[in-house]
């Protein structure tokens, strides 16, 4: 068995698990999710900021395609869709910032689709900058203009994301981040109060909306994680005895 075959097996197993649990949870039952107090705090502070009449800033990354964290850009789109549907009618007070054109296109489509069913035609989408450092500079400037009460960081960032969150904290906004690579999250750990690390980021859409497909995602990930752990332990053991 080659490494390609192993990869194919994992991909096929993941697809089967997704479909199976999607059908299962669509009919009955649910999978208890691990509670994330950081997410509750973010949603609570966001609602309070809206009640106070302050703006909420959602940043979706300085690039769409992730080089280290795969699918993080797609993840930020799912989060945008969920947050837009969670809004208590305060979408006009919510600003979205993104650093890449494809993200801007998708976000615009999501918001227009949501507003079509909603009440407002406000489309508060800004592109602070097309490159990571340009995004950082533009984000800091927009932060000074908007003066938000809540800032959420999603998607792909470099370590410069830590400066953005530090600036948000200085403005008195509540900061939440579920973004970036490992090194970015290490930097965010110093500056962000509420932070999701590692694969917890991929739990996020389901924590906003417990749809059957989100629950199927959780349980599929957990099963694959356990399988991979077992595989690693077995492989390490075989390596130690000289078989591999």
């Amino acid at each position: 068995m080659t490494w390609n075959a192993i990869g194919w097996t994992i991909i096929g197993l993941a697809a089967l698990l997704l479909l199976f649990f999607r059908l299962l949870f669509g009919r009955r039952g649910r999978y208890l999710v691990r509670e994330q107090p950081a997410v509750h705090a973010f949603l609570e502070h966001r609602e309070r900021a809206i009640e106070r009449g302050e703006k909420c800033l959602i940043s979706l990354g300085d690039r769409f395609w992730s080089r280290a964290y795969p699918a993080l850009g797609l993840q930020s789109l799912s989060v945008t869709s969920k947050l837009a549907s969670l809004g208590p009618g305060g979408l006009e007070e919510q600003f979205l910032a993104t650093g890449s054109g494809e993200l801007a296109l998708f976000v615009r489509q999501i918001l227009q689709g949501d507003y079509r069913d909603g009440y407002s035609m406000a489309l508060n989408l800004v592109v602070p900058g097309p490159t990571p450092y340009a995004f950082m500079a533009g984000f800091l400037a927009d932060l000074h203009l908007f003066n938000p009460g809540s800032v959420g960081l999603f998607g792909n960032y470099g370590t410069t994301g830590a400066v953005n969150m530090e600036a948000a904290e200085k403005k008195g906004a509540h900061s939440f981040a579920a973004a970036g690579s490992v090194s970015t999250q290490a930097a965010l750990f110093l500056t962000t109060r509420d932070l999701l690390i590692g694969e917890e980021v991929y739990l996020l859409p389901g924590l906003f909306d417990e749809l059957p497909e989100n629950q199927a995602t959780w349980i599929s990930e957990d099963i694959l994680r356990v399988l991979l752990i077992a595989l690693l332990v077995i492989a390490a053991g075989l390596k130690m005895v000289g078989i591999l």
């Binding site: 950081a38 080089r67 090194s183």
Partner: protein
């Protein structure tokens, strides 16, 4: 024709009916009444104006008081006789009238009726207080008029107007109408005196009890249960509320004192504990809505800004000293790592037939460090005569490469082609690897590449993410392709597993590897010293931060730790 009157809804039911046709109440014990007595039935159907009642009762009591006093005062014999006759008539009345029974039942069955009584009592009391003095002077004339009206006159004024003594209404006329109707209903042939009416209301009469409370004759019953008292400060009403818990019937009784400025001493309102719990929950929710929200505020923003400024100034000062004051001839010493040694060997093995793809994957912010690391390596590469092709995964990649050439004073730029900017590093890497495979296996389809497949790939990167994507994409499709890395100091440690697993043939990470390899420049010692000084500063900050006391701010926002 006699009919049964329902005690609950006052509906007329035929004689012999067991249940009321409207509300279904059992009519057992109901007294038949003559429906032909229209004025009497009218009296039953009309709502009793309690304020009118109390007003008249008050006058009757005053009449009694006046009678007691009049023994010593000089009154006419005729008036004395009238008063005595009225009291005799009241004393002779043995039965409680049906309308009064219905009032009592209603008061027991309907809790809100007590409130209505209270409101009417308030209005009556107010009117009584205002006209008290005036009425005393007119008492004699009223008595005379009452006696005359019993003979048959029918006043037409609205009895409810008695509640407004300020208006131009003859109170005697209104009271006479009420009294006349009562007397005609029960004793149509006999006149009734105020004394008789008043006497029949003794005992457990609600109205009499209320009047007695007003006059201070009826003391409040003291309950045995524990009594609580609290001052209510919410809203506009400031009042002292006492509530007494009765565990037997699981109710609370609220005793309101000084409600809305009136002088009513006490009013008892029974509320169950469930209702009370709901009320308290609602009050708590209202208080929470009105209370100030906890905002994540920063204590001492000026202090934080000052501290940041101090840290920045200290950092700038110390690094500047290390950069400009440190001796330039200071030697760096260190152990040459095997991965750096591999790069040196690789460069040494290049010849003029070698083709190298140079991937520019670092940003302008790291240009200083990358120029220091890359320029000596590029100089050696160009010396061998190998063909170099550039490809950028950052927008300014081509500009940075030209700057590298310019800074390094590299004379020969044997670039075959510039493949341009690939927007997504991993995407471009996959495409490149795919094209290499296609060109190797199906050369007739290799229309995208302007050069032959590369022998080596050299990646200059400042971040492990982009380099990792290149390694994974290329190695998965072309495992035999040699990949070498020139990295910044922050990317090196994270990519070391790729060297250890054999996916990368060599890597130089940071200034120290470059210097130890022997390709140092004049600026290397100062840069390395400044790097070490910055690292020491960072260590000091961490240690100081660990020694500072913790803050309660960490408990304000949830989700602090996973």
């Amino acid at each position: 024709m006699f009919k049964l009157i329902c005690p609950e809804c006052n509906a007329e039911n035929p004689l012999g009916a067991e249940k009321c046709k409207d509300c279904g109440t059992i009519l057992e014990g109901a007294i038949p009444e003559d429906s032909n007595q229209e004025k009497g039935s009218d009296l039953e159907k009309e709502d009793v104006n309690l304020s009118d009642l109390l007003h008249l009762l008050k006058h009757d009591e005053d009449l009694n008081q006046f009678n007691e006093k009049s023994e010593k005062d000089s009154v006419s014999d005729s008036e004395q006789a009238d008063i005595e006759s009225l009291s005799e008539q009241v004393e002779e009345e043995p039965e409680v009238p049906e309308w009064l029974n219905r009032i009592r039942q209603r008061a027991q069955a309907e809790p809100d009726s007590v409130g209505e009584v209270t409101q009417k009592i308030f209005a009556a009391r107010q009117s009584l207080e205002d006209a008290e003095n005036e009425r005393q002077q007119q008492l004699e004339s009223l008595l005379q008029k009452i006696h005359d009206e019993d003979e048959g006159t029918a006043p037409s004024e609205d009895p409810e107007r008695i509640a407004e003594p300020d208006e131009d209404v003859a109170p005697d006329t209104i009271r006479g109408d009420w009294l006349r109707r009562i007397r005609k209903k029960h004793r149509p042939a006999e006149a009734e005196s105020a004394d008789e009416i008043l006497s029949e209301r003794e005992g457990d009469s609600l109205l009499h009890w209320l009047v007695a409370l007003e006059n201070g004759e009826q003391p409040l019953e003291e309950l045995e249960e524990e009594e609580f008292s609290k001052q209510s400060t919410h809203g506009e009403i400031t009042q002292e509320i006492k509530y007494i818990v009765n565990p037997e019937d699981d109710t609370k009784k609220f005793i309101l004192n000084d409600v809305k400025g009136t002088q009513l001493e006490a009013m008892v309102l029974a509320i169950s504990q469930e209702d009370q719990a709901r009320v308290e929950q609602l009050m708590a929710a209202l208080r929470a809505e009105k209370s100030a929200r906890q905002v994540s505020t920063r204590s001492g923003p000026a202090f934080n800004r000052g501290l940041r400024l101090i840290i920045a100034l200290v950092l700038i000062a110390i690094l500047s000293l290390a950069l400009f004051v440190a001796r330039s001839d200071a030697r760096l010493y260190g152990r040459l790592r095997p991965q750096a040694q591999s790069v040196g060997e690789w460069v040494h093995n290049l010849n003029d037939n070698s083709s190298i793809l140079l991937v520019m994957d670092y940003s302008a912010a790291f240009s200083g460090e990358m120029e220091l690391i890359s320029t000596p390596i590029l100089k050696e590469i160009f010396k061998t005569g190998a063909k170099v092709t550039t490809l950028s995964s950052v927008p300014a990649g081509r500009l940075l490469f030209d700057r590298l050439i310019e800074v390094g004073s590299l004379e020969s730029r044997q670039t075959v082609a510039d493949l341009g900017y690939f927007p997504i590093g991993s995407f471009g890497a996959y495409g490149l690897a795919n094209q290499i495979t296609q060109a190797r296996n199906q050369p007739e389809f290799a229309i995208n590449l302007s050069v032959e497949p590369f022998d080596n790939i050299l990646i200059i990167g400042d971040d492990y993410e982009g380099v990792m994507a290149w390694i994974e994409q290329i190695h998965s499709l072309n495992p035999e392709m040699p990949i070498l890395l020139l990295l910044s100091d922050q990317a090196g440690p994270l990519l070391q597993p790729y060297w250890e697993s054999g996916q990368v043939q060599g890597m130089i990470s940071g200034i120290s590897d470059s210097v130890n390899l022997g390709v140092e420049s004049n600026e290397s010692p100062n840069r390395w010293l400044a790097y070490q000084v910055g690292t020491v500063l960072m260590i000091l900050m961490l240690l100081i931060g660990m020694s500072l006391p913790g803050s309660r701010n960490s408990a304000v926002t949830k989700g602090d730790e996973q």
